[in-house]
Symmetry: D2
Subunit: 343 residues, 4 copies
């Protein structure tokens, strides 16, 4: 089958012909119908510092966001049948650690990531652990199914910010930020203020339901958010930029008692004033790494199936798997949101 492979520890990827894998115990074989490019894939391609430390097994079929059809079952698989449509949950839990025992398997102490620590989905077929093969309703299109993983991260963050009837800021309007804008709007935030430095992304934010957008390269975002919130600051901030400077600034427009949900991954340390940023402000800062398995999935699927959440504006490009290099270029161009690869 066709696959995109990271062959060795240096920059670059290869388009290769490899054999179709076989599902082992507790695994399913999925015919991939749509896969989505993520920043992680680009890190691997570029062989960034993160990638060098990520403990990749190589050669590696990359890609972790996908949907498809189950075509074979390994032994011991219950509850999934051939023909089912599934999407990939990328967090592979061990099933036995403390976190797995107490309902937090998505942050398993021994977490493996599909497409990073195991072969992934930029291929015609992929083997997925049954526990990570989330059955999805057949009325959810495969392109949408392919991005449920990142959508879920954003959806859950908005949910944990408890946004209804309150102003919320989404910091960084890349794909995850755009998903967060859509989720916050759907959950009844009174104002959804998108912040970015790219017109393309800010217009995406508007399309996803932002009531206001701010260009932090030209606007005084602190003043603007305070003006939009009677001087108090936003009740919640959903951070999807990973930008150290922007995050530091954001504490200034978080209201006293507000929530700060962190998704983005800065590449360098951030300096915080714990006194003024956290203690006196009683800020509630929390990290979100993935989706609750599978509470988040269920809510997101219901929202999509009901039509209340429409993510079409984020799915800007759909190209053949073979054109992955062009996809990466698009993703880096800043003129694409989510790029879907079709095997």
């Amino acid at each position: 089958m066709k696959a995109i492979v990271k062959p060795r520890p240096m920059p670059g990827l290869e388009f290769a012909e490899v054999s179709i894998p076989e599902p082992g115990q507790g695994e399913v074989l999925v015919k991939v119908r749509a896969a989505a490019l993520c920043g992680t894939d680009i890190h691997i391609e570029e062989w960034s510092l993160w990638a060098q430390n990520a403990n990749l097994k190589m050669p590696l079929i990359i890609g972790h966001e996908c949907s498809g059809e189950v075509v074979a079952l390994g032994t011991g698989v219950l509850g999934i049948e051939i023909g089912d449509h599934v999407a990939s949950e990328t967090h592979i839990p061990c099933g036995h650690c403390l976190q797995c025992q107490i309902g937090e398997q998505h942050i398993c102490a021994n977490l493996k990531i599909f497409g990073v620590h195991t072969d992934g989905c930029f291929a015609e077929y992929a083997v997925i652990p049954a526990i990570c093969a989330r059955k999805i309703p057949k009325n959810i299109p495969f392109q949408v199914g392919a991005v449920l993983e990142p959508l879920g991260t954003a959806f859950r963050t908005a949910a944990e910010c408890n946004v209804y009837g309150k102003p919320v800021v989404v910091l960084g309007c890349g794909p995850i930020g755009l998903f967060a804008v859509g989720a916050a709007a759907m959950m009844g935030a009174s104002k959804v203020i998108g912040i970015d430095i790219s017109d393309f992304r800010l217009s995406g934010a508007k399309a996803m339901g932002a009531t206001h957008v701010l260009d932090s390269s030209s606007d005084d975002v602190v003043k603007a958010v305070l003006d939009l919130t009677d001087g108090y600051g936003a009740d919640s901030i959903i951070e999807a930029s990973g930008h150290v400077g922007a995050i530091k600034t954001a504490f200034r427009y978080l209201r006293k008692g507000g929530r700060f949900g962190m998704i983005g991954l800065p590449t360098k340390p951030i300096e915080l004033e714990l006194g003024s940023d956290i203690v006196f402000k009683e800020a509630k800062v929390f990290g979100i790494h993935g989706r609750k398995m599978f509470e988040t999935w269920r809510g997101m699927e219901e929202a999509l199936a009901s039509g209340k959440l429409n993510i079409a504006p984020v799915l800007t490009h759909e190209i053949p798997l073979e054109s992955y290099a062009e996809g990466i270029k698009l993703a880096k161009s800043g003129q694409a949101n989510k790029v879907i690869l079709v095997p």
Copy 2:
């Protein structure tokens, strides 16, 4: 000034000319610009069993839902000024009991109700304790301001049901039920299923955002809700009917682990099977009596001001205060939702 008065302990109301009251310490005088009829007012008019036991002080100016303009301040009032627009929070807390001390003043141990235990707002002017005179944004019209009190009860119930991405049933589509439909839709419920026996009310539910409506006089509501929820039942039920039979039935379409928010007031006891209805099902049944002061108000005002919540379909009638008798007739007819009286 003109006022609608309950003169003595027997059926009936009177339209009377009384003197304009003066605000005492910690009170404000409000020129009433819109008031809304509520079931409570009708109980008082009919002199129902509830009214007979409600410990009314008579003669009583009735009416508790209103909005208006502050025209005079008693001594010791801070934070409110003449000219402010206010709406009435009807729960008058003592300020000193356990509940008042721990953030639950809306269920004060010594709770008094405006327009029941004190003179109310079906009049040209009303005296309101400053703590219950909620300042509202001037872009909220007075007719809307007049119904913030019942809207808040519904809004809060939907909020505590945590409805986003989940199917919810609203049982009983009178004004409070309709408000609950609107709130649940705004907060991102995947399905909002309105149940009533009146076509008029069910069409109101649709106008407020119900995705499905059921007529319990003809539909098999248990089967219908189970069909709409993959056989599991609704994640939440917002009960605004006060109908014993409907409530008993509703436990059958509540999902295991679901929430059951109770607003309606049945006139007779209900028989429950605690084992199957509550314990095995792990139902979470909770009463809602009013609004959090003033967390609920703030969320609701933000939602209205943002345009995300539109309650116009509930405000079906607006008549002069003098026509209150016609208003009561309208309210009883089943062909009106909320009737606004304008002094």
Copy 3:
């Protein structure tokens, strides 16, 4: 092996010699080291109405509360090894329903109960689904391990009542009630008020940490609880009596805004005044059916291992498995708390 069997649908049990079962896929074989009698077992012995409707498979080895040592593994079992000490979680989830998917597997839509719908543990050996074989620390004695199941129900209820620094009532001081007394005391309830009609049980409550006990056959419990709570009523009630009259009365000493955790299973319907008992009071009534799998287990094991929770006073009797009839007599006598059977 020796086993206690329900042979057919009529009153009675039999002591029988049966063959040692073999663990199938996803199951483990446990050498039972201690088992505990529960009210359910007595229902089955007496062939009560509940038992007649419980859909038992017969002949049935009864018993569901136990601990022991793993002696054999079926295929596909991961994370458990021969020699491990385990206790039985009696709720067997399907793994695929909505509840199983969203972290509520303990109230699985297709729930089976170990020892009711499958052969149980009143025997020398028992087959337990691997997911229900909870590994326990070896410093927890087997007699304690045998009662973790009912202890967990009580422990979780106390946890969800959020009892620290608040007065709590435990209604019914049978074994589950006694466990609840101990859990509430450990979690820092300011007052733990045990209510029962048996001196034996009330003295057990004192031994488990009750600060006050009330005999509802002679005390005016409403007055007494109000007196102990400055007239407000208890912040929480943990209901473990299943007694309809006592439950109805309890709403009168629940404070406005209080929590009412229901474990007990009344044999007949209860009449509630939803208005005064639930709505005006904003009571939060919730059923507890078992333990969170396995968040509750983890907390309980930590508490036991740390010595902060000591349940010795509840383990009043320990007899050989063969003497089960005497055990049942003891349990019915009202002069025993938990009776441990040792195979």
Copy 4:
């Protein structure tokens, strides 16, 4: 009357004779019976950078932690009577901002601090706003009443960490840390691990209920905490050291998914790796600035009155008000916990 005064913006304090103040509208006059030294007072004495920026009104009677007896009432005071025992809540809310409106008055947007922005309690008499004069049970001794303010901060942090049945670390065992140790122990933490560099403080931690203590000047605290928690790390950390290095290290022994409650105030910025410290770990970091008014007070008073919480080991010194300079020396010596001044 006698008072300790900060006369002017430079180091030092003065013992002065001033006139007894009079309570204005909404204020009470309290005969101070016990006051407690806090780090803030020492900052003011030393004229630290913090003090220079704290916007003090001078001359200022310092001191904010106290208890006493109400001896006079200003106008408009309800719910407090002459002779009542009260303790000082030091957060003076405006009553009108967003936070005050939504139940978060303790982090009022316009917060003033008693004894910092108003005259305080290191004097024979003090004027306290009625809203900040917390009536306390007469069986709570005045020395205990004087430290309810800092105790409440610690008590609330432990409560929000939800510690029952879980291992918790208290970082920094000064007075607030010691209170946190006591609160966590009372609320049923399975392990309470106190960390400090002072033997005196660590022995205080043991006296308050720490199950383990670590000296971070000699122990490898990361290894030690991991060893005590099966390698996972602590479920919660209560940070009361304000030490940047210790806080940075603490993220390494916080379990994935753990809570990090911050009370301490570092004097310089801290560098965090948001990726590993917050996002991947899903850490929940939250600031605690004071007590919920008055939910925290009520729980704390109940806990003290019940005898479940005993803070005697923290109250190491009691001296006359005149000897304040010695008190400051004691507090700085590291051989005192809480120093009580008696006017």
